[in-house]
Each structure stands twice: as C-alpha cells, then as structure tokens.
C-alpha cells in the first residue's frame, strides 16, 4: 500500500491505496466522488475526465499515486452546492447539451479545459477539442452550441446563439 495525499474539490484527503489503483477508482470508491464516472476501459470515452493541477486528464489513465500532492477538481467542485453554476454547466443546461447525462461530467470538464486554452474556438476547433469524449445521445450539436455559448459568456461578450438558431 502507498500513502497518497491530494486536495480534491477543496478538501485534503490522505489515504492508503494499492499502487495499481486508478485515480478514478480512488475518487469514486475511497472518496465518494461518484459524480465522476467510468464509461470504458480503454481511455476512449472521456467520461472520467477531471482536472489534475488545472489540466484535463482522463482519470482512468492516471494512477492515484501519480496524483499524490496534486490538486484535483471534479464535476462536483466547479460550483459550490447551492452556489452559481460554472458558465459551462449553465450553457450545457441552456443549450440542451445533455440527454442521459452520463458523459456530461467529463464533457464539461474537457470543455472547460478547451476554453482555457482557446477562449474563442470555432465550431471546428470545438469538435476537434472534445473528440476525446464520447456522447451517445446528443449527436454533439448542442454540446458544440453550449461550448460556444459558454465561450461568449466567459469572454464577456454577449452571444445570442439561441438553442433553436
């Protein structure tokens, strides 16, 4: 067993883990952070995407021991309970960027990371930017709209892209 300590959504946790434990399993099973989900076993689907020291990672491709000393943000940590939603969360709701919602935590975390690197992405850049995250419900069009909407709000310009536009 190895001792790991990480700050997750603002709280520091110290645990003994098996060295082979994946970060996503540590988050879900030891810390109860079940907002982050597992959708595949080959790192294709991106459902488990979290931020590790500010960068989006698929938490099924990171060992918990590799996150020792790191700052982890999950979908549960980007808006305080009862507080304002993150602009990307809000945009996914406004633009109907989700249906079953299983891919949504990972999709939102990947989109936040995309907008950090490229605050005003084109449709093509958004599609390329989130291609590591699979969604089976939406056909992606409203996810693209949501990212465009959030980009507008986060960069302070008013976007008038309607969901029906």
């Amino acid at each position: 067993m190895a001792r790991v300590s990480m700050r997750v959504d603002g709280v520091t946790y110290t645990d003994e883990v098996e060295p082979r434990t994946l970060l996503v399993h540590h988050l879900r099973e030891a810390l109860g952070k079940v907002g982050t989900v597992v959708g595949c076993d080959t790192s294709n689907c991106g459902s488990c995407t979290v931020h590790l020291d500010g960068q989006a990672v698929k938490s099924c491709t990171v060992l918990a021991v590799q996150a020792d000393g790191a700052e982890v943000t999950t979908i549960e940590g980007i808006a305080a309970p009862g507080g304002a939603l993150h602009p990307v969360q809000k945009a996914f709701h406004e633009m109907h960027g989700l249906q079953c919602g299983f891919c949504t935590p990972g999709m939102i975390m990947a989109s936040i990371d995309l907008l950090k690197d490229n605050p005003r992405p084109s449709e093509h850049e958004i599609r390329e930017g989130i291609e590591g995250n699979l969604c089976r419900c939406t056909g992606y069009q409203n996810i693209v709209r949501a990212v465009q909407q959030a980009a507008g709000e986060m960069s302070g310009t008013t976007d008038t892209l309607g969901a029906q536009a």
Binding site: E18, H25, R28, E29, K33, V34, G35, T36, V37, V38, G39, C40, D41, T42, N44, C45, S47, T74, I75, E76, A79, L85, Q89, F92, H93, E94, H96, L98, Q99, C100, G101, F102, C103, T104, P105, I108, E123, I126, R127, E128, I130, E131, G132, N133, L134, C135, R136, C137, T138, G139, Y140, Q141, N142, I143, V144, A163, Q164
Partner: protein, 828 residues
C-alpha cells in the same frame, strides 16, 4: 381501456401554454453537477461484488470447471458454476414467439453443459471488493471440447451446415411470412412480378451493431428476508420485475425493481439480462447485497447487439416508374439465443418495408437464424431501420435502372397528402402527413439546386473529390403499441401505459408515470403537459418514475412510445383530477357543476364575477376534508391507463450531401438536412435533441460502426478502440426542420420522435455516397463505408468486401478438428 373515442385536442388552460415551449430540462440540475444516482454509485453495508468468468470459445461442451484456486484467492467469498445454479436459474425469457412453431433452444443465464457464444458466463465470483472479484477471474480453469462455430447466416441455412445447437434440428428458429395477397391487403405478388416491365433485385447487408449506451450495465440486489430490491441500469423496471418473478419463482410482490438515473439505453437496456438473474439468485443464496457492474469490453461482448440482416429485395415497376410490387426475403441473425424480443425485431419491421409508397403487391419472408454470436435484440428503431434502409436503397436502384431522378420516382409513388388516412399494402393505417411539404422544405434547407450544380461541375472536371446527394423519404411506426395488435402478433404483453396524479395539500402536484426515462426528458415534458391541463405552474409539478414501489404499473420506455402512450395517460389522469375537483368546487362555491368553467387552474361560476377557486385550493380543502360533498371521496387524485387504438406514423425527408474522395476512399458529409413530422411538439428543444441523437446513430451505421466476428467467433470490435462510436469531430452540423400534422390517435397529437433520425438517416447517407460514384460503375458499398471499402468499390468493383478476418484463436483451429468456417475470411 381504450379511451380515444372521446379524445379532444389538448386544451390549454393557462394563459401561456407550456406545450410548445423550449423549456430547459428539470433533469439537468443533478446531471450537470455530478449529483447523480447511477446504479454503480450505490454502496450498501456488507455488499459483495460479483464478477463473471466468460467463455473464450464460441461453441463447445464444458468438460471441467476448476474453481479451487479462485476459492483460495484473497477476498473471495464464493465461486459458483452453472451446475451450482442449474436447478434455480430457469431460462432468460423470450416474450415474442413470432410463429406458432418457433424453436426456442432455451437460454441459461450461466452455461451448464455447453457454451454457444464468446462471452457467455461459465462461472461467477463473489468477493469482498471489485478488485478481488476481478482478480480471481483468471484463476478459474475451464476445459471445453470444441465444436465448430456457426457464424455465417447464408452457410447456416445451407445443406451441410454445422448446427449452432445440437439439440435442435436446424439453425432456423422460425419462418415468418406476411403476404399481402393472402392477407387481403394487396394483389398477388408473383403475378405482379410476372406482369412487370422492370424488376430490380439486390442483396443488402444490414450489419450487426452494438447499442453502446454510455453507462455500462450495473445491478445491485439487496435481500431483506424474503423480499428483494433490485437497482438496475434498465429501461424496463416494470417488465423486468414481472419477468424475474417468472424466471426465479420469487413472488412478484416480494420483488421491487428500481431504475435510478440510467445513462442511455437505445434498446440495449430493454432486456432481462443474465447478470440480473445471477445477481438476484446469488443475493438470495448468500443473504447479502450483491453488485455487478460491467466493464466496457464486457458490455460490447455480452450485452445484446442489434440489426444483422441479409436482405434479398426485389422491386417491380412499369417503364414509367409506377411501382407494382415489392418482395423481401430476409435472413435475420438471432445470435445464439432468443432474448426478450429477439425474434420480434424483424417481424416488427415486416410491416414497414413498403415505406411511404403505394405498392399494389407485397410479400415478406423472414428466417430467424441461430449463430454462435451474442444474441441480437432491440436497438434504436428495432426492425424499422432495416426496413427503411431496404426500401430507400431499392428505390434508388430502381431509379438508376429506369434512368429517372430518384426524387421524381419517389414522388410518383408516395401517398399524397389528401389520401390520409391511408391503409397500406401491409395493412397499416397511416394517420397523417404531407410528404411533398416535408420534401420541399428539406430541399430548400439544404440548398438542393446549388449542390446539383456543384455535382455537375465536379463530374465534368473529373475532380477526384466527387459530390453525391442522397434521399430518404421515410415513415416509421411509433407509439408501441395497441395491445390488441400486439396480441395478434403473438407478443407476450400489452402496450398500454399508466399514470397517476397526486394533488398534495400545499397545491404541489406529483405525477407518477409508468414510462421510465433514461435521458429523454420525461420529467420536463410531463410537467409541461400537466401544467397546461391543470393550470398549475410548471415548477409545481414533480414527475416520479422508475421504481415499482412508487410507480406500480407501467410498460416502460422503448419504441418511441413514451409521449404518445405514457404522456396521453398523464393527460387522461389530469382530466379525471379536474372532473373530481369539479364536484368539490361546485359544493364549495354553492353552484351547479354545469355552471362551472375551468380555465387557468381556476373554477369560476359562469355569470358570477369574482367567484374563483383554484384546483390547488381544492387540493387543500380535500386534505382537510372538513367540507366536501356527501357522495364523493375526500381526494381528487386520479389514475389512468391508456391503450392506443393505432400506431402513430412520423415521417420526414432526409437529404445528405456527401463528398467522396476517389483517390483515398474517404467520405465526408458536406451537408445534412432533414424535415421531420412528429406531430405536436411538446418541447422543441427535446425534439431537436432526439433528432440529432438519432441522426448520429443512423449516420454511424452508414459510416462507422460494425460488430465484426472473426472466423472463430471472437468479437474483434470488443473495445471502443475498435468499435467506432463517432466523436464530435466525426459528425457534421445538422440542419433540421419540422412540419406538423397532428396525430389523430392521441389527445396530445404527438407521433413519437425517439427513433426517427436513426431510422431515416442511414439510407440517405449511403444513397449519397453511391450518387457520387455511380458514374464510375459502383452499384453498392457495404456499410459501414470505410475508406478501404469505398476505395475497393471504386477501384476494384464489388461492394467493398467483408471485414470478417481469419481465425485469431489458434487453439480453436488446432484442437477442434474442423471448425469448417474458415471460408468466411479472406475476402479482403
């Protein structure tokens, strides 16, 4: 039961109608913040974890299962084999014996003597942790006497075929026939073909697909004395409860099934899964909670697949392009076993092959074939995508043969707006629509004339990138289903749906629906319906579902039935609430019932201004029950069950413009436009989202997805690396529109939208690709249109070939003697 005779149009009661509004979804709040209740999130005290040891051979007799090493592994509590569970496991149920003499070989949840597909359960491990259960899988040794696998349907029905199941006589489960001449709904088909000027015959392959819902299947069972609660990632908690009671002998009233948040289904979670049965049996045996959650690889390998038909289609016409007959002979792959509606999927499609066209004669024959592969069953559209693909492809082939414009051929033969309701050659009564209007709108949306002009320019200049335009003018059958029709098709249950409305003392409203959502937005749409009917605020409505203890009656969600059948039940229950409230209002307002108006949630006395009593006030009054009429109960709650008298028939026109790079075989959708008529639109945001999602899956069948088995019966597309679920970068922008022809069969006027995009899009995409390269001599390209296949079709002729590969399991070849199916490989 059937209450459509007095079906009025939906009456808006509040000043601003909720129906038609793009309400943002109530469901989203928990989903976008990660506060979800997926089954795999659940942890119970003392919970044990189940893992499944699976067969790595497609066909064989089990000679020995050695579990001794696994039993010694740390954390392992029990290891059970098929023999341990043989007496109590029963058979996975098949609810749809499509013919009286259909052969059902039986479907054990865990193999006892013989395995019939790769991935079939041969042992289960119960351990204290997920990791311990997974680690012990490789400690179980299973020995098999290998048998030759049956993998190719055309070989399976040949003379010297090996058998998939040696205790039945052939590989054919059933032979299903619909003949319009015999049914009295059309002319004699053989005569129609004999008299025709032109006959075009084609063989289409509608490949095997995997539903690939994003949330892997998961089940948790908690025993409580002789009672059991099962949480499962299922589309069908109500059906599952009945079936589990029948299979396991656990009395139905001792069993509660809960579908918490469920991450997609697309038909793939319309099943009684072997693992659900096993988790229940083991929880009963050990008296402890048991959880099983599949890995993605396990899901792709063992959850049921969809489609998988070989279609021999003949169309007859005169020289002017008036169609005279349609003849379909289908081989439908059942896989190794018959699951819940495995045999029914092609039979459901049987009535849709004529599409929107006025064929005078029609004959359909289907053989359900056993192969040593995972069973097929419902996948988005279930029988209708296969039918639509066949008819929309063969119409294009006929147009080429006649030298006609494909749209002109369609227009010449489709049902005209003034002919509705129209009884088709398959005996269905299409309800409403206007195929011309939808087509014209779609042509405008895509900019048709410009695209044809560009196509001409590219042809003339010999551009290596050619442009093609493909059509699909489709209809489909929704609102499953009239119970009597299901009965006439030998289905094991009805197609009604139930709802209850509970008026709470504070005026808030609980709506209980038997239709269980897994992403469709029922909580939002049902709230809109109830807000309009009862005149209460949208926010005051809570929709409850998915728990057999909360929602005791239901038929669940599939076949685009939820709004059409389940939503109507909600509207009917609301009507009853108003009728009950009217009596109380008359009493409290000291007026005659007949003098009361109900509008905007308030009862008023006609001719007496200033008198008003809201339905929410009445809810409080009957809770207090201090003053109510003598002859009524102190409650305005109501239940309703709705059973439709007919299906509903959404339709639309889908147009795809496709670029085909003839040098590389790479295809790219340049533009995609569709106009769908789904009747009344309750929430345009949700409707558009359903169309988008359906398009993605239909396009994926055309371009990306195929479940491929090698010559040993191994699934070679067993991970998301190999099974190509498209990403955002793989799909185009969709231009969507609607026409609205209200469905006459339900008071909402809705037709259903869940499957439309998936059913319509596949042939539009393939027709577009072929339109780009027809002039190069290409007649067909097998789906999915991979660059390799397209390149081969363009440069080598043929349809691009089979993707099945040579054997990968050397042991199977060496020790089985003669598997005898190696001829499947080598096409490429």
């Amino acid at each position: 039961m059937t209450v459509t005779e007095d079906a009025a149009t939906l009456t808006p009661q509040s000043p601003e109608k909720e129906v038609g509004k793009a309400r943002r979804r109530k469901e989203d709040a928990r989903l976008i913040t990660g506060r979800t209740t997926w089954t795999d999130n659940m942890v119970l005290p003392g919970m044990l974890h189940m893992s499944v040891v699976r067969s790595h051979v497609a066909h064989g007799k089990i000679t020995n299962v050695d579990v001794s090493a696994a039993l010694e592994a740390p954390g392992v509590v029990a290891v059970l084999t098929g023999r341990d569970l043989a007496d109590e496991q029963g058979s996975i149920p098949c609810a749809w014996p499509v013919t009286a003499d259909m052969v059902n070989p039986g479907h054990p949840s865990i193999a006892v003597e013989e395995v019939n597909h790769v991935g079939e359960a041969v042992a289960v491990i119960i351990a204290r942790s997920r990791d311990a259960a997974a680690d012990a899988i490789e400690l179980v040794d299973v020995d098999y006497d290998l048998l030759p696998p049956v993998l190719d349907m055309e070989q399976a029905v040949g003379g010297e075929a090996d058998l998939c199941h040696d205790h039945i006589d052939s590989n054919t489960a059933y032979h299903f026939v619909f003949d319009a001449g015999e049914a009295g709904t059309g002319a004699d088909t053989e005569q129609a073909f004999a008299d025709a000027d032109v006959v075009v015959s084609r063989r289409f392959v509608n490949q095997r697909l995997i539903p690939a819902f994003m949330e892997p299947r998961s089940v948790v069972v908690q025993p409580q004395g002789e009672n059991f609660t099962m949480w499962s990632a299922t589309q069908i908690p109500h059906v599952l409860r009945v079936m589990l009671a029948m299979v396991t002998g656990i009395p139905e009233h001792k069993l509660r099934v809960v579908a918490p948040d469920v991450g997609g289904g697309f038909g793939g979670k319309l099943q009684v899964n072997p693992e659900e049965v096993l988790a229940l049996l083991i929880a009963r045996r050990l008296g402890k909670p048991v959880k099983w959650t599949e890995t993605r690889s396990e899901s792709l390998m063992t959850a049921h697949h969809g489609r998988d038909q070989i279609q021999y289609i003949d169309i007859a016409s005169d020289r002017e392009g008036n169609v005279k007959g349609l003849r379909c002979r289908i081989l439908a792959d059942m896989g190794a076993y018959l699951r819940l509606i495995t045999p029914g999927v092609p039979a459901l499609g049987a009535f849709m092959f004529p599409g929107i066209y006025k064929f005078p004669a029609y004959r359909f024959e289907c053989d359900g074939i056993f192969t040593n592969k995972v069973p097929t069953d419902a996948y988005r559209g279930a029988g209708r995508p296969e039918a639509t693909f066949a008819v929309e492809r063969i119409m294009d082939e006929l147009a080429v043969e006649l030298g006609m414009d494909p749209l002109e051929l369609r227009r010449r033969n489709w049902i005209r707006a003034e002919e509705f309701p129209f009884t088709t050659v398959a005996g269905l009564e299409y309800d409403s629509g206007d195929y011309d209007a939808a087509t014209q709108q779609a042509l405008d949306l895509i900019g048709y004339d410009e695209l044809r002009e560009e196509q001409r320019r590219r042809r003339e200049s010999g551009d290596p990138v050619q442009l093609g335009i493909g059509f699909s003018t489709f209809t489909e059958m929704c609102g499953l289903a009239p119970s009597r029709v299901l009965g006439s098709l030998s289905y094991g249950a009805g197609g009604w749906e139930a709802a209850s409305i509970r008026m709470l003392p504070t005026g808030k409203v609980e709506v209980v629906t038997g239709s269980t959502p897994h992403g469709q937005g029922h909580e939002t749409a049902w709230s809109q319906l109830v807000a309009d009917q009862l005149g209460v605020p949208f926010e005051d409505v809570e929709v409850l579902h998915g728990d057999t203890a909360v929602s005791p009656r239901g038929m669940d969600t599939y076949g685009s039935r939820s709004l059409v059948v389940g939503g109507t039940a909600v509207v009917k229950a609301a009507d009853k609430v108003i009728a009950k409230a009217r009596k109380v209002a008359a009493h409290l307002l000291e007026a005659n019932e007949d003098d009361l108006d109900f509008s905007g949630g308030k009862f008023t006395v006609r001719g007496t201004p200033g008198t008003a009593l809201s339905i929410q006030e009445i809810a409080l009054a009957v809770f207090a029950a201090h003053d109510y009429p003598e002859d009524v109960e102190p409650s305005i709650d109501a239940d309703a069950t709705f059973d439709p008298v007919n299906f509903s028939f959404p339709h639309g026109t889908h147009i795809c413009a496709m670029e085909v790079d003839t040098d590389t075989g790479f295809v790219k959708i340049r533009k995609y436009a569709c106009v769908d008529d789904v009747g009344t639109i309750v929430n345009p945001l949700i409707v558009e989202g359903q169309v988008h999602g359906g398009l993605a899956q239909g396009i994926a069948q055309a371009l990306y997805e195929e479940a491929v088995y090698d010559a040993d019966g191994n699934l070679t597309t067993g991970t998301f690396v190999d099974y190509l679920v498209p990403s955002a970068a793989d799909l185009p922008h969709f231009d969507t529109g609607n026409t609205v022809h209200v469905a006459p069969g339900n008071p909402i006027g809705a037709k259903g939208v869940g499957e439309a995009g998936c059913i319509a899009s596949t042939p539009a995409v393939v027709n577009a690709a072929l339109d780009a390269v027809r002039h190069l001599g290409v007649q067909d390209i097998r789906m999915p249109l991979t660059p390799e296949r397209v390149w081969r079709a363009v440069h080598q002729g043929g349809d691009g070939g089979d993707r099945a590969a040579a054997p990968t399991n050397a042991q199977a070849v060496d020790s089985a003697g003669a598997p005898g199916t190696s001829s499947q490989g080598g096409d490429l």
